[in-house]
């Protein structure tokens, strides 16, 4: 008998898990959240290449530290490998991807097709986003689509899942089983509308939300207080977005150039005052995680370490948010190992066998 990990299908790591009552997806992330465990998600930096190994190598460094990996959909309106493609690769290897869907590049016909295709590949989580404007990216001349917005996209996915229908009303033979996510930014105006806006997203179908980078904990506490007063935190799992800043200079640059990210002066002062700014940025991230994990209504953190992915494991480890729990980790199973041991020579030994040679050796 082969021992398998919790939240793993014994028949194969790439297969969906058994359905559980009250769960809308057959994925690992929903199980972790519904069990009440503190979840950790992260973001995979999408490769600019057609090599699947690039995706596997980038996913490997998160092994055993995160519950789900966001497959970004051309973030910042820059071209990269598509989120559908990344999800196809990740699900093959048993990872739990969160497929991001942005409204910038696809109309409702393409999006509904991708939702079905993603769900068929075993993607259990989908994150519905509006997406950055094309002006922000490397192709400012592209046609912005924005046929749906994040809210109507959430509703579309919810209708497909719960009513088993396309937006047009045409029936699906097998509806997608997905856990729906949304993004919220508590750090951009209009501040008093943001908690109400979260309520609107919940009404449209959001089951979990990931927030924008949190650097201003008092502001976030204020937002969560309002969300709790409105009763939103009981209906949605909130994952707070965090990440390490590489230096004070980067922080200033992000503040001035990336809309929607709010970095208070105190943070920049703290980075400037440090000997090793990179280390201080990591420590700052850990401190923020330790503060936000105590806020009632927070179910996890979303660690975004763009171009510093190797720090994710350290940040998660040093902040101790997992409390000794180990998320699913890709391991070589005993039967795979047996095959590798016995037949590895076919792959690794440099033998070129031709039929003529085989006949010669047989005699």
């Amino acid at each position: 008998m082969i021992a398998h990990q919790r939240d793993e299908n014994p028949a194969g790591i790439h297969l969906p898990l058994d359905p559980l009552p009250g769960h809308s997806s057959r994925g690992r992330l929903e199980r972790v959240l519904r069990r009440g465990e503190f979840a950790v998600t992260t973001e995979l930096n999408p490769p600019d290449s057609a090599d699947p190994e690039d995706v596997y190598n980038r996913a490997k460094i998160f092994d055993g530290w995160v519950d789900a990996i966001n497959a970004v959909d051309a973030s910042g309106a820059n071209c990269h490998m598509s989120s559908v493609g990344i999800c196809a690769l990740l699900t093959r290897m048993g990872y739990a991807p969160i497929m991001q869907i942005a409204c910038r590049d696809k109309n409702r016909i393409a999006i509904q097709g991708d939702v079905l295709g993603g769900a068929a590949m075993g993607v259990a989580n989908m994150l519905c986003l509006t997406g950055d404007g094309v002006q922000a990216g490397d192709q400012p001349g592209a046609k912005p689509v924005f046929d749906l917005d994040s809210m109507s996209l959430l509703e579309t996915c919810r209708i497909m899942r719960d009513n088993g229908k396309f937006l047009s009303g045409r029936k699906l033979t097998t509806p997608p089983q997905i856990f729906l996510g949304a993004a919220v930014n508590p750090f951009a105006p209009p501040f008093d509308f943001r908690p109400i806006h979260l309520g609107k997203k919940i009404a449209a179908g959001a089951q979990f939300v990931q927030t924008q980078y949190c650097f201003d904990v008092p502001m976030f506490k204020n937002f969560m207080q309002k969300a709790r007063d409105l009763g939103h935190t009981e209906k949605v799992f909130t994952l707070c977005g965090v990440g390490p800043l590489a230096s004070a200079k980067t922080a200033k640059w992000i503040r001035n150039n990336v809309p929607g990210i709010h970095i208070p002066d105190a943070i920049i002062k703290r980075l400037e005052g440090a000997q090793d700014q990179k280390k201080e940025g990591k420590q700052l991230c850990i401190d923020i995680i330790n503060e936000v994990k105590e806020i009632p209504g927070i179910s996890g953190v979303h660690v975004m370490a763009y171009r510093q992915e190797e720090y994710v494991a350290e940040i998660v480890d040093e902040s101790g948010v997992l409390k000794g729990r180990q998320p699913w980790k890709r391991e070589i199973r005993r039967d795979d190992q047996m095959v590798a041991d016995r037949l590895g020579h076919i792959l690794h030994d440099e033998i070129t066998e031709t039929q003529v040679d085989m006949v010669k050796t047989a005699h």
Binding site: E43, V72, S75, G76, N78, C103, R104, R108, T130, G131, D132, G133, Q135, A136, G137, D138, Q139, P140, P144, F146, D147, L148, D149, S150, M151, S152, E155, T156, L167, A183, V184, N185, A188, P189, P190, D192, F193, I196, H197, G199, K200, A203, A204, Q212, K249, T250, W253, I254, N257, V258, P259, G260, I261, H262, M304, Y306, R307
Partner: protein, 207 residues
Amino acid sequence: MSETVPVKDGPGVIQPVTQATLVKKAAPKSDYKPADVSPQRRVQRSFAVRLWSIRHSRLLEWFYSRFADMFLLLHPLWKGIGYGRVEAPIKFVEKRVKGFMFDCRMCGQCVLSSTGMSCPMNCPKQLRNGPCGGVRANGNCEVEPDMPCVWVKAWEGSQNMVHGDKILDVQKPVDQSLRETSAWLRVTAQAATAREAAQAPKTGASA
């Protein structure tokens, strides 16, 4: 999320630069450089009237409800002439009036009374359900840095309105087949149908 490319800027100093900046720098140099704004914004250069309408959202809400009642009263007239035939002149007026007051984009499915009299089609992403996450700290748009965010204004406008809580309704995706049609006539015809449907059982019971 930030998407930066480190570029060597002097010895050992790494200066982050956006892809968009690199693309702009690589563009061919010429004398005519159109302003770096979206085509939509190029057509519309001032927001004074739009912002006045949002400040007076309560007045406009009151006025519109009277106006809609009047249109509904005229339903027999529209029906008599034929909705198809009156569409062209009504649309001509509607396009200019709403264009002047709200910078209307003629989506044909007006939601002004649910969005604090701020037209959501003026948002570069055409969001109809609330602001995106990119609103600048000063309340301006992330795509058009000198334009106040349509949704920040919508929230302000809806606070003044009697039925301002309609901003909480989740709006359906835009039906692109209704572009360049009259929202006034559509709303009137729908209201007339609803009125007839409400009256039908009553007459049925009395007969």
